[in-house]
Amino acid sequence: MNGFTALLMRDLRLVWRRPGDVGVVLAFFVVATVLFPLGIGPEANVLARIAAGVLWCAALFAALLSLERLFASDHEDGTLDLLLLAPWPLELAALAKCAAHWIVTGLPLSLLAPFLGIAFGLDGQSLLALGVTLLVGTPTLSLIGGLAAALTLGARRSGALLALLALPLCVPTLIFGAGAIETLAAGEGIVTHVAILAALALVALATTPWAIAAALRQAGE
């Protein structure tokens, strides 16, 4: 087992030992999403129109909830020093941490969202599109969120700072993710939107690990 896999498995094991952390994220996603139909009323047309935006925004906020602790716990217990001193690239360690975050938040959110979409009256095709766009788009949220978490490590009010840093950077993903469902409703395909989401994810994959590693080295000094 190499260092990348060891770190990924360690973080997944830690989540397994404290399932409440992921439970809170998923519960927030469900509650935040369900509040909209209750608040707006049962008008099917309105709900179907706002569904994608609501579900994407709720998924983004839910993913942000757990990001504050992504590196903070390692910083607090001294294991960040062990990562900084590992004889393999810190960029890979950053990627392993973001991958673990996506597996325990982005993936379950993507699988859960289509079920919540039913409450908004989305048809089967839209539900499928919602799940697909979230699956392709949420890795970007984990990577950008990971960068914001690393940049705010050790800062006071890091949670609020993290949101202020990450949210604007997530706007393109949000626009193309939610836009795909509207495009589908207009009778067009979602391939272009999914391709753009994938491109955004690849750009994040190619850039954020280096920036995260640099921020972690700075925090470790």
Partner: protein
């Protein structure tokens, strides 16, 4: 003194704009221990972190077996075992899991000296317990077991005796002696007597300092 494996030349460090130490030079050979002593804030931890590469030095060089560590930091890091103020253990993992993960993060594929490391610090009975259920002294012992398990030639230790009772301190001394006898090197920042023969470097001023016998 044996020919130095680790050679520090004119190392200068600032922290928050303050000069912590200036043009510090010393060498360390096979089987040697260097105890860093000095008042709080004298720069012991800063020196350890600078040696590990956790913080950049303003000037100076660190050489390992003649090669500058900056030229190949991955190889340098593979030579180190680190014990900081914090134990570097995950509270929700057991002692055994923490030790295995630490080794795998160091790139070790097969961890085969685990029992010996646990035995050295009397941790066999605690091996399956989550670290968060251990006392401060037990956690320190687990962190020291991680250092022993690493088999790294250079130990960098920040207050290794913190929170240890008399028997755990003796276990640490025995482990350190074994490491030095096998040709290993160790640098330890300490306020307490380590109880192992070695040299002492007192930090505290900004004048150039040399390690004294």
């Amino acid at each position: 003194m044996a020919s130095p494996i680790l050679q520090i030349n004119a190392l200068t460090c600032r922290r928050g704009g303050r000069l912590v130490f200036d043009r510090l030079s010393f060498g360390l050979g096979e089987g040697e221990l260097l105890a860093l002593v000095g008042r709080n804030g004298s720069g012991k931890t800063t020196l350890l972190r600078a040696l590990a590469g956790l913080m950049p030095a303003e000037a100076g060089t660190i050489r390992w077996q003649g090669a500058e560590i900056a030229d190949d930091p991955d190889t340098w890091r593979s030579k180190l075992a680190w014990l900081g103020h914090l134990e570097g253990l995950k509270g929700d993992l057991t002692v055994t899991e923490n030790l295995i993960v630490a080794e795998r993060l160091r790139g070790v594929k097969f961890v085969d000296r685990l029992d010996g490391a646990l035995l050295a610090f009397d941790l066999e009975g605690l091996a399956a317990r989550p670290v968060r259920t251990l006392s401060a002294g037990q956690r320190r012992r687990a962190a020291l077991a991680r250092v022993v398990l690493s088999a790294a030639p250079l130990w960098l230790l920040d207050e290794p005796l913190n929170a240890l009772d008399a028997s755990a301190q003796q276990a640490f001394r025995d482990a350190l002696k074994t490491h030095l006898a096998a040709g290993g090197l160790a640098i330890a920042a300490t306020h307490a007597e380590l109880g192992v023969a070695g040299r002492t470097l007192e930090l505290g001023g900004i004048a150039p300092l040399k390690a004294s016998a």
